[in-house]
């Protein structure tokens, strides 16, 4: 495979590193300059990613804006980055969330400012790297690399129990990735390449065949890493601690982007690489997802602390995403990707709100609030929109994702109707716990005198929330361009799982031959190879 010149994808991925280098040369005492340079870098990265959208051809299901470099030929390791419909939106989500996370840190972070912003820039590149990489080995590097800055973000700038939470986060997610590393090595050694499109091509042509039972094992290898990251029930126990202890921006990045690395991993690797195992295990994964939807919602409702409530709600929301992905049809997967974005916006927003409350009162207990809407009317109104978005109110973004996911799971060839019914119960529960929180914190009379004179939002806080709210309405009212961006790629991805055309009436083939499946997948994923 020929080396290619540097593409926009590479530039966007490493722009934060460029900013990081600039920051390194700034005196640590000049904190304001550091803040603004970081913000500038994040904004430029976002603008550059809009350039990617402009150059992106949505009708092409394959990889675009590629950079290929034969990096370590001896081990068949390449530097190969590109975007397609599956990753484009997630790249945008990352570059969109980061400036908000940076701006939200301006006031709260007062210690070791330089190191802090370096960590933010590092994690942006790491996350972008995960979304754009097409080489398994490179993917693993970026994947592990995301842990490091997050570990420090939690461990240094977190709250009381930060060290405990950081270590747990680090060890738990790392333990999961070890199995993935083994699976990657198996593929790399037996396929003579770590390049994903080449591997898919080899699977399609029969040049690489999984021995009996190996496909499931490899699936589980990837599953271990991704399921912990998502987190899929019952692998979620690191999440509440990490969220609770992390600083606001850490929580926003964690919820907004980092958790999507897991769900994205399933879409990028498990579905195309292991179609038969995906089909066999779809009911199992979907069952865990649905349990997570109900369990996360229920446990969320029992919390006394706002931040924990929001953290557990992530388990519920990501259960929806997983259900959509393992519906294994275009509706489910598109809904799943859409919902990844939606969850990033609404849950990221919720963590920002919690941070703003915390900055004012230095408590996160719901019992310490009440009547906040009266004290901070603008904040109350903006909060309501984000809360409603999170509970899937039609007309806002959450509904579009949830509906499309449920549409997928209802018609899935591999999931019984019961999955959808129980998942839909989760929609009721979302109203229960979100309104419980909203009622306790925002509504009712002001019962604590300390809350009577809280300062209203300043310009930075407004500037952080308004972009989120614009996106919440945009996706809720007119998601067509966003679905359009992934339509063809997702269709190519799920072709092996659905009969030709994917029409309603087409006869479902329960067990397509793996070879035929891979062939169809590779047509979509790697037309250029």
């Amino acid at each position: 495979m020929e080396n290619t010149p540097i593409s926009l994808t590479t530039i966007v991925t490493f722009l934060p590193i460029a900013g990081l280098i600039v920051v390194l040369f700034i005196n640590r005492e000049r904190e304001d300059i550091i803040r603004w340079v970081t913000l500038g870098t994040a904004v430029i990265t976002f603008l550059a990613s809009l350039g990617m959208v402009a150059a992106f051809d949505a009708s092409n299901p394959g990889l675009q804006l590629e950079t290929y470099y034969n990096w370590i030929p001896g081990f068949n390791i390449s530097y190969h980055v590109a975007v397609d419909g599956l990753s484009m939106l997630l790249v945008l989500l990352t570059t969109f969330i980061m400036p908000l996370a940076v701006l939200a840190s301006f006031d709260p972070i007062k210690e070791r400012v330089k190191l802090y912003y370096c960590m933010l820039l590092l994690i942006e590149t790491a996350m972008l790297g995960v979304f754009v990489t097409q080489d398994l080995f490179l993917f693993y590097i970026f994947w592990e690399f995301t842990l490091v800055p997050m570990y420090f973000l939690i461990g240094i700038w977190g709250s009381e129990n930060r060290v405990y939470a950081a270590i747990k986060f680090f060890l738990y997610t790392m333990a999961g990735s070890i199995l993935m590393l083994l699976a990657i090595l198996w593929l790399g050694v037996n396929g003579d390449t770590f390049n994903l499109p080449t591997l898919l091509e080899k699977l399609a042509s029969g040049a690489l065949v999984f021995p009996e039972g190996v496909e499931v094992l490899l699936f589980i290898g990837f599953f271990a890493a991704f399921a912990v990251k998502v987190p899929l029930w019952p692998f979620h126990s690191w999440l509440p601690d990490a969220h609770y202890e992390a600083p606001t921006a850490g929580s926003v990045i964690l919820a907004g982007v980092l958790l999507k690395l897991g769900t994205y991993g399933f879409v990028r690797f498990n579905l195309p690489l292991f179609p038969q195992a995906s089909i066999d295990l779809a009911p199992v994964v979907a069952a865990l997802a649905v349990i997570g939807i109900l369990y996360g919602a229920w446990v969320s409702y029992a919390q006394k602390d706002v931040k924990k409530l929001v953290a557990y709600s992530s388990v519920s929301h990501l259960g929806f995403v997983m259900l959509g992905i393992f519906a294994l049809n275009a509706q489910g997967v598109q809904g799943g990707i859409m919902q990844m974005v939606n969850h990033g916006l609404s849950t990221g927003g919720l963590f920002l709100l919690v941070g703003m409350l915390y900055e004012r009162r230095h408590t996160k207990l719901m019992a310490d609030f009440g009547g906040i809407w009266k004290v901070m009317p603008l904040f109350g109104a903006l909060s309501l929109i984000i809360v409603l978005s999170s509970m899937g109110l039609p007309g806002l973004n959450g509904f579009v994702g949830e509906f499309t996911i449920l549409l997928g799971s209802m018609g899935s060839n591999f999931l019984a109707v019961g999955f959808t019914v129980f998942a839909a119960v989760g929609v009721i529960l979302a109203a229960v716990y979100m309104l419980y929180m909203f009622g306790k914190v925002y509504m009712g009379p002001v019962i604590h005198p300390e809350n009577e004179r809280l300062p209203g939002l300043d310009w930075k806080e407004v500037a952080v929330l308004v972009p989120l709210i614009i996106m919440i309405f945009w996706i809720g009212l007119y998601p067509t361009p966003f679905f359009g961006m992934m339509d063809s790629s997702v269709d190519a991805l799920v072709t092996p799982y659905t009969a030709p055309g994917g029409s309603v009436t087409a006869a479902p083939e329960l067990a397509p031959a793996p070879v035929a499946a891979g062939e169809a997948a590779s047509v979509g994923l790697a037309p250029g190879y």
Partner: protein, 772 residues
Amino acid sequence: MEVFDLVPLIVFIPIAGLLLNAWIGRYLSEKGIAWIACGAAGLSFLVAVALGLGLAGGSEGKIVPIVDWIKLPAVGVDIPWAMRVDTLSVTMMLAVAGVGTLIHIYAVGYMHGDARFGRFFIYMNLFLASMLLLVTGNNFLVLFVGWELVGLCSFLLIGFWLHRDAPDPETGIIGGIKNTNAAKKAFIVNRVGDFGFILAILLIWWTFGTLDFGPIQGAAHAAGHEEVAAGEVHEAAPESAPGGEAVAPVTPEGVCQPTGEGVFPMAEAFMAAGCNVKLGSAEVPIGTLIVVVTLLMLVGVTGKSAQIPLFVWLPDAMAGPTPVSALIHAATMVTAGVYLVTRNNVLYEAARGVNILPFGLSPPDIVALVGAITAFMAGTIAVAQWDIKRVLAYSTISQLGFMVAAVGLGGYVAGMFHLVTHAFFKALLFLAAGSVIHGVEHGAHHAHEHGTHEARTFGYREGVLDPQDMRNMGGLRRRMPVTFWVYVIGALALAGIFPFAGFWSKDEILLDAFLRGSEYGDPTGWLVLILLIGAAAFTAFYMGRQVFMIFFGAPRTQAAGHASENPPIMTYPLIVLAALSTLGGLLNVPGLHPFGTWLEQSVPHAHTADFNVLLALVALAIAGVAVALAVVIYYMRPALTSDGLDRLQRPLGPLWTFLHRKWLWDEAYHNAVIRPFNALGGLLAHLDVRYLRDGLDQGLYGGFNRIAAFLGGDFDLGIIDRVVNGVGRVTQQLAGQARHLQTGYVRNYALSVMLGVLAVLLILLLPLLFGQ
């Protein structure tokens, strides 16, 4: 450009109104805010009138697409924002925007002086936009958006006085918390209903491959008008256009095949063909599927239209300001369920013929029974309430039961007719009740200023008199004459007394039940008829009780004695509504049935039966007897006993308490659902921390530490050291230094991972940066 292309404005105008008020409202006086909000409502009504005139002029209506919404071209998902103008939707638009405008005007007076006056009208305009979206939506999902948004507005407006810190006179709960709880209850109970509705929508998509309702029904049915209809139909269903290649609705294997026509025409074709629906890997007969869909929709109806078993939120919703109760919880939002069943008349009538449920019941039978039982039960509860608004709330539930029963019986015209007349007289009653409450509050202020001492008031707690408690009223006839007269008109209309509006519409419902029993020999019809006649008798009785308790006898408190009539901005809308409640029966006057003919265009299963004098006389006689009973019990003697009890309280004993506490529904839900739910939630949260979190810590974190300790201790010291000892001192020192590296601190490991990765990255970057 037809007049029908104006239909998006009916939603956009109120949205513009609310945005304007949200943006500049804070700089405006109450008057400015009121002009914007009422102006928006009034303009919407004018749009509805224009659309109505367009339809009356003989046109078939139109489907107006606005913009794409959820569109996944690869798999044929295409759910656009689109609106539908047909006689059914225009009927709803006229009722919603018309009554809505009057209530907006009234609210200007009612909310005068409230600190959040502007906020109130923002919510009211949002409600109007949402409700109008609900009734104009041309597919199930747009309808559902409106359906949930009206629920949101309901939530916001029930909880409007969310910051009140005075305790509620009746319960002692702090006002704001009571409002908050009522608001949450409304939203969550409605979500339970929406759960059924959304599942129905998902099944509909997988059955028909679309969520569009289909071409305007009148066009599809009136075969002779094809030339006229083709233009309109074309946009909705290109496949069915003349000359196009028709898709067969069934494959040779007997599987239903969507033809792209829209849900209702396809439902008829599929039912006629008796095909099977592919759902995932399963195949379901179309009849079964339609039964399931219609029953799931019924779940949504019971939530939104406050029917058994989900009606419990509506009485509590009375915590909101009275104009809200009138607009949302009486006249418009709660009737959305009736609209939904009417809109889906094709599906319900298709399900009527499918016999798979026990006792030979079909989904529409169940709809009718739910409605009739609700009507009866709520009627009995209303008899034993003290709160003026709660009586009306139960009356609303009861009347909604009439409508739901009607559409369940196939009496779509009767149901819609009652929906419209009920919107008039129930809005009237609520607004008049608001006027009473306002008057009593004024009286209380007045009495307070003159230092008069209350001898005995009910619900009097911590200095707050409950102005809604009918025991605190009496004799208001003289103090508030306009309110009195309009209240009596509303009560007569509600009680179904000739010639007021309610008489005609209620009679049509009874007639439909009668015909269902006598002509079709359907026992459901008889059962519904008996329940509804019972409910009608209770209606006449409790309205009599209420009127006598409020307006007759001697004032029972100083507040009532000093009550005063309200300003014209509140009484004029009352007079308009009173006129409508008096004359509304003309809409579908027997012999001509203009309303029935009007609806036939959009409701294929609409029919109007001929007026039955005998049945009307029987119904009238029963209502008359009930009113007479009320006269004897509450008018001939003082309405309350000397110790402040209802005249019936002692004779009925525990039964009265049972009725007063709404058949113990709330208690049952509390014990059977809420408590277990809370307890299990707490238990799960505990287990989550105890086992998944801490248990895992012991496993993972503890295990890691043990390995680290083993490597750093036993292994390092015990084995390596011995080996090293054997090798020599120099190497031993090296090993000792190596030991320091294994500190057991993860941050050091993290740092080394980071350094390693940085090194790898550098390797990666260098060749890229410095040529290839």
